[in-house]
């Protein structure tokens, strides 16, 4: 009877968590890239999501001479794949929010322990600031 129980428990454990795999990575020991990091402020309203997906860094650059590009590096803290949606908002110098035809929520899936960046380019040269929203699926 005990053997049966143990086998069942083991099978259940395998079913529940056995498929999770995480990502191994390798990179240059001394990175040569010099990102322009942005000092950020974070508002957490979903602590569960914040525990699963961490914001590692935020950096910026300019593309096409005058368009702000923002890149946010995210890390899946669990060993299971996590799918969530994100959206960039753009704000002009006067504080007004800017809209574009291709904005909106986008999905991203991170494998277990994966680090990946999501980025966006401002819809107009008028964009001075940004806001990234993250939402669990």
């Amino acid at each position: 009877m005990k053997l049966l129980l143990a086998t069942t428990a083991l099978a259940a454990a395998l079913l529940a968590g056995g498929c999770a795999t995480s990502v191994n990575t390798v990179s240059r020991a001394q990175p040569t890239a010099t990102p322009d990091y942005v000092a950020d402020q974070r508002v957490i309203t979903d602590s569960t999501l914040a525990r699963k997906v961490a914001i590692v860094s935020v950096n910026q650059s300019t593309v096409s001479n005058n368009l702000l590009k923002i890149q946010v590096t995210l890390e899946n803290r669990s060993s299971k794949p996590q799918a969530f949606t994100y959206k960039f908002d753009w704000i002009a110098q006067d504080g007004m929010e800017l809209s574009g035809p291709t904005g909106g929520w986008k999905q991203v899936q991170l494998q277990g322990r994966e680090v990946r960046a999501v980025s966006a380019i401002a819809p107009t040269p008028a964009a001075a600031d940004f806001r990234l929203k993250l939402r669990e699926n």
Binding site: K87, P101, T102, G104, W105, I121, P123
Partner: protein, 199 residues
């Protein structure tokens, strides 16, 4: 008395919570996460994502700044639809045009089109008439770039699970020498057993 109270309470509860069913029509954000995902067609979020990634790729490439005159003049050429469904390719190209126009990097001509199909015939006619009235030859601003592309579809099934991949390919060609100075493709893959709401 108790029965009447209970009935009233039940009716009130129904009024407050029970009347709305899931099938009621409602507005949702066109760019939000509540849009329907279907496996048998390209959804609005697919057009949106493909256009967004392609515009970002084009802007980041830096080729638009190479045009001798700014903003660069672009014409939309043929976008071939090799998918199984009938789609209006403007669903992709219009978003790209609007996004590029907003950046101030590109203006699109609407009086030149593939196979002589002009998008804005009236603008072409009025331009010709103005030139005629002024006794001049019509001056048409020729595009420095043309945008062409192709839509592809790949379907595969494993058991009850279907997978569809839509490929959005675009090329930006310099009209002066016919060279494609920027090319990219974006893939959008959807998997499931049936359509659903969400991402």
């Amino acid at each position: 008395m108790k029965l009447a109270l209970a009935t009233t309470a039940a009716a009130a509860a129904l009024l407050f919570t029970g009347c709305a069913t899931k099938n009621d029509a409602r507005y949702v954000d066109s760019q939000g996460p509540q849009t329907i995902v279907s496996l048998d067609r390209i959804n609005i979020q697919d057009w949106n994502n493909a256009a967004d990634r392609l515009v970002a790729s084009l802007l980041a490439s830096g080729v638009l700044e190479r045009a001798p005159e700014q903003p660069a003049v672009m014409a939309v050429s043929r976008i071939r639809n090799n998918t199984q469904q009938q789609v209006d390719t403007d669903s992709l190209t219009k978003k790209i045009r609007v996004a590029l126009n907003q950046t101030g990097k590109v203006v699109t001509t609407t009086t030149l089109g593939p196979d002589g199909r002009v998008e804005d015939q009236m603008a072409a006619d009025v331009g010709a008439m103005q030139a005629f009235m002024a006794g001049e030859k019509q001056k048409t601003v020729l595009p420095y770039y043309t945008l062409s592309g192709k839509l592809l579809e790949d379907r595969v099934r494993s058991g009850n699970t279907q997978q569809v991949t839509y490929t959005f390919q675009l090329s930006l060609t310099t009209t002066r020498n016919g060279l494609a100075v920027w090319e990219d493709e974006q893939l959008i893959t959807k998997q499931g057993q049936r359509s659903s709401v969400g991402w």
